[in-house]
Amino acid sequence: MKPPLACSTEDPDRAAADEARLVRSALAGETRAWGALVDLHGPALHRTCLRLLGDPDDAEDVVQEAFVRAWVRRADFDPARPFHPWIHRIARNLALNRLRRRRLWGLLPLSGVREPTAAERTEREAEDAELGRAVAACLAALPLPLRECFALRHEEELAYAAIAGMLGVPIGTVMSRLSRARARMRECLESKGVTSP
C-alpha cells in the first residue's frame, strides 16, 4: 500500500519539495511524517548498511536505530539542508560502531552472501543469484572505505560530489577509492569466473 505521505518520485523538483514538506512536519513532531521519511530513505540506508555490515538483520537494526536517534536529535537538523546525508551519517556511525565492536570481539565479518532460495528457480534467476553471491563476496572482501564508496556509487548511484559530502572527504579521495575498489572488484570477480559481457 502506498503510504499516504509518500513523495513524488517522477519529478525531482517535486520530490524535493515533497520531502522538504515531510521534513518540516516531522521536525514539528508529526510521527506520521517521520514514518514517511522512514519509508522514503529506509531502503537506501538498508542497502548501504548491508554492504557495510554484511548482515541484513544487523543492517535493519542499524536503520531502525538511526531513525529513532535522528528523531531524538531532530532539533539539530538544519531543514535548509537535505535530509538523506544527515540520516545517512547517523546510520553510518552506528554501523561503523557495530563493525568496530564486532572486530573488538573477534567476530569474523560476514560475507554478505545469502543462500539461494527456492524462488530462484529459473535459469536467469539462478544465474543472477550466483552473480549476486560473487559480487557480494568480493564486495565484502574490500576494505571498509573502498567498500563504502563502491556501494554508494554502484548501488546507490550517487554522484561523486554527493559521496564526498556524505563521507566528509575530498572528492579526490572518492575518485581514488573508487578506482582502487573497481580494480580489486574486477580482479576478484575474474577469480570467481565472473566476466563482464
Binding site: W34, L50, V68, D76, R100, W105, A129, A159, L178, P197
Partner: protein, 360 residues
C-alpha cells in the same frame, strides 16, 4: 594524498557514463572518445562492469518489510516520547530535576562547609548526629578550617578532570586503590557524602548515577535502552547485543569507555563500601559538579583531540565510537557542546577514513 591520474581518468569516464559531467566537459570528452580508441574501450569496459555489478548487487539484496520497519521505528518513538513525558515535571526539560538537585546540593554543601552545621542554624551535635562519620572525615575533620574547605570546593573541577584522566587509563586494582587513597579522591568523597546526605531522599538520584552503576558491558545497551526501552525490537536487539558484546571480557577500548561512565565507582568502590559513601559520591558528582553528559563530552573531547594530534586512527575510531554510543544523543549536553563535539567527530571521521586510504 598523491595525485592518481588513472583515478582521475576513471572518474571522468565514470561521470560521463552517468551524465554527471557539465555540458562543456561532456562535449569535449565525447569528441575525444570519438577519436581515441583506448579511451572508448575503457568506457565500454566500465559500462559493462557497472552493469554486471549492478545486476549482482540487485540479486544479493535482501528486502526487509518496509511497513514493519516503519511500525518498529514509530513504536519505539512512541515509547520514547512516553518515557520522556514521564521524565518531565510540568513541561520542564528532563534535566530539570538534576539541575534542581545540583542547586540544592550546592547550597547545602556551601552551608555545611561554611558553618559545619546542618540544618542551618541547628546545633553542632545535631549535625554530628545526622552526618555519619567516615574514614575521610576522620582524617580531615577538626583540623580543617572553613577556608580550607572552600578551597577544596573551588578546586573540585580540576580534581575531577584529573580523576577522569586517570580513569581513562587502564590500570590494575592496586592503581585504583592508590587513586582512591589520593587526597583529591578523599576530598571528593567527603564532598560527595556531605552533599548527598543533604540531598537525601528528597532528591532522586540523577540519571548519571544510575548509569554509573551499570556493570561493564551494559553501557551501550543502557544508552540504547534510553532511546527505546521496551520496544518490540528490543529482544532481537538484545540477542544481537549479546552476540556482539559478550559481557564477561570487555575489551580494553570498551572497558575504558564504559569505565568512564563508571569511573568513580570502579575506582572508589573498594574503599568506600565500608562507609557507604560511594553511591553518595557518585550522586553528588553527577548532581553538583556537572551533568553526566557534559562529563562524557569532556572526556570525548580530550580523546578526540589527542587522537587527531597524534594522527592515531585507532584511537580516533575508539573516540568516535564513544561519541556515537555515549555522547551524541544525550539531552543533558548543552547545544554548544554538542556542536563542538560533532565538529570533532567529523574530524575523527576524516582521520579514520584517511587511514583507510592508505595502502592496505
Amino acid at each position: 594524498m598523491t595525485h592518481d591520474p588513472s583515478a582521475h581518468v576513471g572518474a571522468l569516464l565514470d561521470r560521463y557514463r552517468t551524465g554527471e559531467l557539465p555540458p562543456a566537459e561532456r562535449e569535449r570528452l565525447a569528441a575525444h572518445l570519438a577519436e581515441c580508441e583506448a579511451c572508448a574501450g575503457e568506457l565500454a569496459a566500465l559500462q559493462s562492469f557497472s552493469a554486471t555489478v549492478a545486476r549482482g548487487l540487485a540479486a544479493s539484496r535482501s528486502a526487509p518489510d518496509p511497513a514493519g520497519r516503519r511500525r518498529a521505528v514509530l513504536n519505539r518513538i512512541a515509547e520514547l516520547e512516553r518515557a520522556r513525558g514521564r521524565g518531565r515535571l510540568g513541561g520542564l526539560p528532563r534535566w530539570a530535576p538534576q539541575a534542581l538537585a545540583a542547586v540544592v546540593g550546592a547550597i547545602a554543601v556551601g552551608v555545611v562547609l561554611r558553618t559545619g552545621v546542618w540544618p542551618p542554624g541547628g546545633r553542632e551535635d545535631a549535625a554530628v548526629q545526622q552526618r555519619p562519620v567516615t574514614v575521610a572525615e576522620d582524617e580531615t575533620s577538626g583540623d580543617r578550617t572553613a577556608d580550607g574547605r572552600v578551597t577544596e570546593e573551588r578546586d573540585r573541577t580540576p580534581e575531577l578532570e584529573m580523576l577522569r584522566k586517570e580513569a581513562e587509563q587502564p590500570r590494575g586494582a592496586e592503581d585504583a586503590r592508590r587513586a582512591v587513597a589520593a587526597p583529591a579522591a578523599g576530598a571528593r568523597r567527603e564532598d560527595g557524602r556531605d552533599a548527598a546526605d543533604e540531598l537525601g531522599a528528597a532528591a532522586p538520584p540523577p540519571e548519571g548515577a544510575a548509569r554509573t552503576t551499570a556493570p561493564p558491558g551494559d553501557a551501550d545497551r543502557a544508552a540504547a535502552g534510553e532511546a527505546g526501552a521496551g520496544a518490540p525490537e528490543t529482544e532481537r536487539r538484545r540477542q544481537a547485543a549479546v552476540r556482539e558484546e559478550p559481557p564477561a571480557e570487555p575489551s580494553a577500548v570498551e572497558t575504558r569507555e564504559e569505565n568512564f561512565a563508571g569511573a568513580a565507582p570502579a575506582a572508589a568502590a573498594p574503599e568506600t563500601k565500608a562507609d557507604g559513601a560511594a553511591p553518595a559520591a557518585q550522586r553528588v558528582e553527577a548532581a553538583v559538579a556537572r551533568s553526566e553528559g557534559e562529563r562524557l563530552l569532556s572526556v570525548f573531547e580530550d580523546r578526540a583531540r589527542a587522537a587527531i594530534a597524534a594522527r592515531d586512527a585507532r584511537a580516533g575510531g575508539a573516540a568516535l565510537a564513544m561519541w556515537a554510543d555515549s555522547v551524541a544523543d544525550r539531552d543533558d549536553v548543552p547545544p554548544a557542546g554538542l556542536e563542538s563535539g560533532r565538529a570533532l567527530a567529523d574530524s575523527l571521521e576524516d582521520l579514520v577514513a584517511s587511514a583507510g586510504d592508505r595502502p592496505d
